[in-house]
């Protein structure tokens, strides 16, 4: 194993990290050409936002206090990051060794998603210098769902960091630390899964207070259940989507033999996603019938609802089912993309589109909000790529020869 220690035993950790900071791989790729200007523009907007206030860059109003920085970055980003708790549950609790190879990339992706998407919350806070208040305990709002969610974000980020830490230790050649950190894995996984079930559902519970504002087709007291169940198939679809991309982009990092078994893994994930979607559709169906919402179906809102539930849940669910039974990898990939779009659409419907449905005024995100959101996504991908090229995330630990 070619760790820093074995390559250059006397090289200091800082020298090693400095050398690792240099870019690896081609510089002028289409992704870099698009992402670098976007990130720079986003940074300017962030500076602008802190210099002149939220109103100077966002389209938020008194009626729409939460825009896409919450509705997309946090609500959707956290659902997409659900894969980490599903996979660690499958591998460490249910001991399904088949999915072991997914753990590192998924946990890394989960951790970075929380760090960046939930971190984007900081930009949205009007008085961010008080972010410490609910943590240090001078003002605990115990009865607030948001209190629960913010604590869980913080604790879960720590749990994910711990779950990923053996990889970092391995990269730095700290064998003893790696062994110790590895011993913590089962504990942090259990803790992480419990935290995830509560804050994935907690994000839905935030909207329990919005009964007078959210359209009846979306408002239900089962919002926490729907958010939790949908985070299962959102997370699994994200693993399929991200894994498929990774296998192309980071080809050199992956043992060629693994390319073949990856399809097998994807079919397993598809089955899991399809089952979760059946559960979700069943709950949705019961809520719809129970709520007597038939008369809304013929309105414009009804069409949005049908598009979301029919086109972006039922259809990908069918594609997943057919795909894994017939072993059609293309169909499964299409299903993953449709599912991710469906989750995005659902979270935006609840937080932005069907919110304030009775008001004549509508909210559309400003260019600044969109650019900052893209900045967050691109930065996450940059960090993900940086880590994958350096640490044993995708490649086999034992043959981790660094270029």
């Amino acid at each position: 194993m070619s760790t820093a220690n074995s390559v250059a035993p006397r090289q200091s950790v800082w020298q090693f990290i400095l050398s690792e900071l240099k870019p690896k791989g081609p510089i002028f790729t289409p992704f870099n050409i698009i992402s670098v200007p976007t990130i720079l523009a986003g940074l300017v907007i962030v500076v602008w936002r802190f210099a002149f206030g939220l109103g100077s860059v966002t389209n938020l109003t008194q009626d729409y206090p939460w825009g896409i920085w919450i509705g997309f970055d946090v609500m959707t980003g956290v659902a997409f990051a659900g894969g980490a708790y599903i996979i660690t549950f499958t591998v460490y609790i249910m001991r399904a060794g088949k999915y072991k190879s997914l753990v590192r990339a998924t946990v890394l992706n989960g951790f970075l998603s929380y760090l960046f998407y939930a971190g984007a919350l900081f930009l949205d806070l009007g008085r961010p210098w008080h972010i410490i208040n609910p943590i240090i305990g001078n003002s605990f709002g115990y009865n607030s769902i948001l209190f629960l969610v913010s604590w869980h974000f913080m604790l879960y980020m720590m749990a994910e960091a711990l779950e990923f830490s053996p990889v970092v230790a391995e990269w730095l050649g700290l064998e003893r630390a790696k062994k110790i950190l590895h011993k913590l894995t089962l504990g942090t996984v259990i803790f992480g899964v419990v935290l995830s079930t509560l804050h994935q559902s907690g994000l839905g519970a935030l909207y329990l207070f919005c009964k007078p504002k959210l359209h009846p087709l979306w408002y239900t007291e089962f919002l926490p259940v729907l958010f939790l169940v949908s985070s299962v198939f959102a997370g699994l679809s994200m693993i399929i989507f991200e894994g498929t991309l990774s296998h192309r982009v980071f080809k050199t990092q992956i043992d060629p033999k693994k390319h073949h078994t990856f399809d097998d893994i994807v079919f397993g994930l598809s089955k899991g996603a399809a089952v979760a979607m059946y559960v979700y559709l069943f709950v949705k169906f019961v809520i719809f019938i129970h709520g007597q919402h038939w008369h809304f179906i013929t309105t414009g809102w009804g069409w949005l609802y049908i598009l979301e539930v029919g086109g972006l849940v039922l259809l990908p669910c069918a594609l997943y089912t057919h795909g894994y039974r017939q072993r059609r990898i293309g169909m499964v990939r299409l299903a993953a993309i449709l599912t991710l779009l469906g989750i995005m659409f659902n979270r935006l419907n609840i937080s932005v589109i069907a919110f304030n449905w009775q008001l004549p005024t509508r909210y559309y995100p400003s260019i600044g909000e969109i650019v900052v959101t893209l900045m967050v996504i691109f930065t996450e991908i940059w960090v993900f790529r940086w880590v994958v090229y350096r640490m044993p995330v995708l490649r086999e630990t034992t043959e981790g020869n660094r270029k």
Binding site: F50, V91, R95, G97, I145, L146, L186, V194, T197, F209
Partner: protein, 289 residues
């Protein structure tokens, strides 16, 4: 009881809990909402907007030019620099004015939503905001069924702005500035239960004048501010579909489940881990031996 007598009594009642702290503790509990409020009789309001002026003067807000601004022509909402507004409504009974401000709910959504306890229902009645705690997440705005908290989007040190029922004046034994300024007896300050009795008496003694609905008696579990009207409240821009459940009730079950999941989740997962056996990949053992 005429108004003057009532006010004297109310003033004494305001001062009483300040004198004796122990009496206050036993008297005002969550189950016994003995807080102060205001009764708004929209049949008496003449739309003079003196309350808006008094509010602005008492709270250091820009004083509206009520003679020239023609603000009654359109329905307004409260704003960061205007905590109360009077609106004119065309109703079945003709032109009726209704003053709008924070309702000071008995168990407010904003306080239940706030993760730093910056929004607080004080024991005397006002719902207040503490800038030293607030982190500006604006979940109170999302939660408030009356859309009352307003946020200063253009400021780098933004505050949540809303009517605080002149809480400082109340602590000194006074009453809200708007009530004091009302020349038409449309506003009455007092303890909520006493105001409820007065409101009922008015409805019973003038059944042809009032609709049989005291807005705020049951809405979202009851509010400190109460309204009387001669027309159904929808015609005065009030939402009547808010239900009678208090806001903490919407999330109570979820919050009760949290300690349960924390208590039962880990042993369940640990048990599953053992139940799943070890004939899978040895590497999935994690740290457990």
């Amino acid at each position: 009881m005429d108004r003057r007598k009532f006010l004297a009594l109310a003033g004494a009642a305001t001062a009483a809990p300040l004198v004796s702290k122990t009496a206050q503790a036993t008297e005002i509990t969550e189950d016994n909402p003995e807080f102060f409020g205001v009764l708004v009789d929209t049949t008496r309001c003449i739309g003079c907007r003196q309350c808006e002026v008094a509010c602005a003067e008492a709270n250091d807000l820009p004083v509206p030019d009520i003679k020239n601004d023609n603000a009654l022509d359109a329905e307004r909402t409260t704003a960061t620099d205007q905590w109360t507004v009077v609106n004119r409504y065309e109703t079945d009974e003709g032109e009726i004015f209704a003053k709008k401000q924070c309702m000071h709910c008995g168990q407010p959504a904003c306080a239940a939503a706030c993760l730093t306890n910056a929004m607080e229902k004080t024991e005397t009645g006002p719902v207040t905001w503490d800038g030293g705690k607030c982190m500006g997440c604006r979940y109170c705005m999302l939660s408030c069924p009356f859309n009352i908290p307003k946020f200063e989007y253009e400021s780098i040190n933004p505050k949540i702005q809303k009517c605080i029922m002149c809480s400082e004046r109340l602590e000194e034994g006074g009453m809200p500035a708007c009530v004091e300024a009302c020349p038409a007896d449309a506003l009455m300050f007092g303890k909520k239960q006493e105001l409820m009795q007065i409101a009922r008496v008015r409805i019973y003694s003038h059944p042809d004048t009032y609709v049989r609905h005291i807005y705020g008696e049951h809405e979202v579990g009851g509010t400190s501010w109460l309204y009387l009207s001669s027309v159904p409240f929808e015609q005065l821009g009030f939402r009547t579909d808010l239900g009678t459940l208090t806001y903490p009730d919407y999330t109570r079950e979820f919050l009760y489940a949290v300690p349960l999941v924390f208590l039962l989740g880990p042993p369940l997962l640990y048990g599953l881990h053992h139940l799943a056996g070890r004939d899978g990949d040895e590497n999935t053992e994690g740290g457990h031996s």
